[in-house]
């Protein structure tokens, strides 16, 4: 037993918490972009675009994020690509959650009734105009709760980055555990922190959903 109490390391864990939040937000940005592009590509009328999107989605959903992270960090340098651990993490986590999100984008867009598409055709809107002004505004309120789910999944998945030397919440808790020999204390703390962060995401998502219902009617301006 070390003479130190684990509570002396709370500052360290706070730092880890900040890293986790940063990582989640950055990956969410990458993931949202990836999901939007891949989700719309899934319903493109060009077969090649659909196929490319399909390959991306299947690859990232079909292999372990953990292995992808290792590959990005340890194998990419062999291909001459050097990324910081943080960049690797953001890329892998973002593309991963983006693959799940893409299916959500696709289903949200397809949830808009066919008669809306037909009205757009008859009014001679281009596909893009129809999507932007009529379809997406109606898909958005369907999409935001799914987006919230993915964001929570992402938050929880960030813990794997401790394996490539990033000092996130989980990493710091492990560190404290090794230093003090106390497991229950630090892990009880981070359990709570993850839970509170997830709650915050949930609240944020609900606000976003309300907003999107309102935005869906004004975005068309």
């Amino acid at each position: 037993m070390s003479a130190h109490s684990w509570t002396e390391y709370l500052g360290l864990m706070a730092q880890g918490g900040i890293v986790t939040v940063e990582l989640t937000l950055a990956s969410l940005a990458v993931g949202t972009a990836a999901a939007s592009i891949a989700g719309l590509a899934r319903i493109s009328n060009r077969a090649a675009v659909r196929a490319a999107s399909r390959i991306y989605i299947e690859f990232f959903r079909g292999s372990s994020a953990f292995v992808q992270l290792f590959a990005a960090y340890y194998l990419l340098p062999f291909a001459g690509i050097y990324l910081s651990a943080f960049a690797c993490a953001v890329l892998v986590l973002g593309l991963n959650i983006g693959a799940y999100g893409a299916e959500n984008v696709r289903s949200a867009v397809l949830s808009v009734r066919r008669d809306q598409y037909e009205a757009c055709t008859v009014l001679n809107l281009t596909r893009w105009q129809a999507l932007r002004r009529v379809i997406l505004p109606q898909a958005l309120p369907v999409l935001t709760p799914l987006f919230g789910n993915n964001a929570v999944e992402l938050l929880k998945a960030t813990s794997i980055v401790s394996l490539i030397t990033i000092g996130d919440l989980t990493f710091q808790a492990q560190l404290v555990r090794f230093q003090t020999g106390d497991t229950i204390g630090p892990f009880a703390v981070i359990l709570t922190v993850y839970f509170v962060l997830a709650l915050a995401i949930g609240a944020g998502t609900r606000a976003l959903t309300r907003l999107s219902r309102r935005a869906s009617v004004t975005v068309t301006r």
Binding site: D115, A119, T121, V122, L125, V134, Q138
Partner: protein, 282 residues
């Protein structure tokens, strides 16, 4: 453009139709293996008001869907003012219509749907101005100004800022008509536009159609179960059954002395169902 001649009593005579001729030549269409149109041929003159009647499943709506470019025919030719709708000439070759060609052709065609298909995320006026602003590059102010005129035409001047889901079915359908008119099509398609309405709301919509048909030189093709209205409105009536034209002629002939047994049977059923064939909609 010169103003249309008036009779001095405040109402304008319709201008002669600029275009809007439609020809179906041996058009075939099947959905999931079921033949819906079977070598269908007919034509509509520019500015003509045509009513298409017939039992459900006879292919009436399909005619409109092909013409509105919502569905592609399996064979045959559809001409609009002599130009192929679904095919185009590229050099020596005749190829299926590109999106660009369809865009060009759609400028002539407007459609009103059975279920209105208004955009729920926009107010009435935005529903009407969206397409003119986007497809005709009209200034928003101008589009709103004109949109108000069309709302006046359909008797909904006070509903400019209303949301579609606050309107009655009849009002929704009238907004949909104003929205279609705003693009000034030469051909207007009406797909059973009163079928989804409560009986007491049918008249207000039909009255609007009647007044449009008086004031405008548009070609109008109306698929309907309202036989009394078809009789009143149409220059010519087509009776369809089994994906083909069974009988066509002036309304008085079709409704008064149909020559085909199938037409007679159909009309008898309609009368038995309580529809009124006799005259102007009351």
């Amino acid at each position: 453009m010169t103003a249309p001649p008036t009779l001095g009593m405040g109402f304008a005579l319709a201008e002669p139709a600029r275009g809007g001729r439609v020809e179906f030549q041996a058009v075939r269409k099947a959905y999931a293996g079921r033949t819906v149109l079977d070598d269908l041929s007919f034509s509509v003159k520019a500015g003509e008001k045509l009513a298409v009647i017939g039992p459900s499943g006879s292919g009436k709506t399909t005619i409109l869907r092909l013409l509105a470019t919502l569905d592609r025919p399996d064979g045959g030719e559809i001409l609009v003012d002599g130009e192929s709708l679904w095919n185009e000439q590229r050099g020596e070759q005749r190829v299926p219509a590109s999106e660009k060609h369809l865009h060009h052709m759609r400028e002539k065609i407007g459609m009103v749907f059975q279920l209105f298909n208004l955009f729920p995320n926009m107010t009435v006026i935005d529903n009407i101005t969206l397409a003119p602003v986007l497809t005709k590059r009209m200034k928003r102010d101008e589009a709103v100004e004109r949109g108000r005129g069309f709302l006046l035409n359909v008797g909904l001047a006070d509903k400019e800022h209303a949301w579609p889901d606050t309107l009655s079915g009849g009002q929704k359908q009238r907004v949909a008509i104003a929205r279609a008119l705003a693009l000034e099509p030469q051909i207007m398609l009406f797909d059973e536009i009163t079928s989804a309405l409560d009986p007491e709301l049918v008249e207000e919509v039909l009255n609007v159609i009647q007044s449009i048909s008086r004031d405008r030189a548009m070609t109008m093709i109306l698929v309907t179960h309202e036989m009394g209205f078809a009789r009143d409105f149409a220059d010519r009536v087509i009776f369809m059954d089994g994906g083909a034209v069974v009988e066509e002629g002036p309304p008085d002939a079709i409704f008064g002395r149909p020559s085909q047994e199938r037409t007679r049977t159909f009309l008898k059923k309609i009368i038995a169902a309580g529809y009124d064939l006799s005259g102007p909609i009351a």
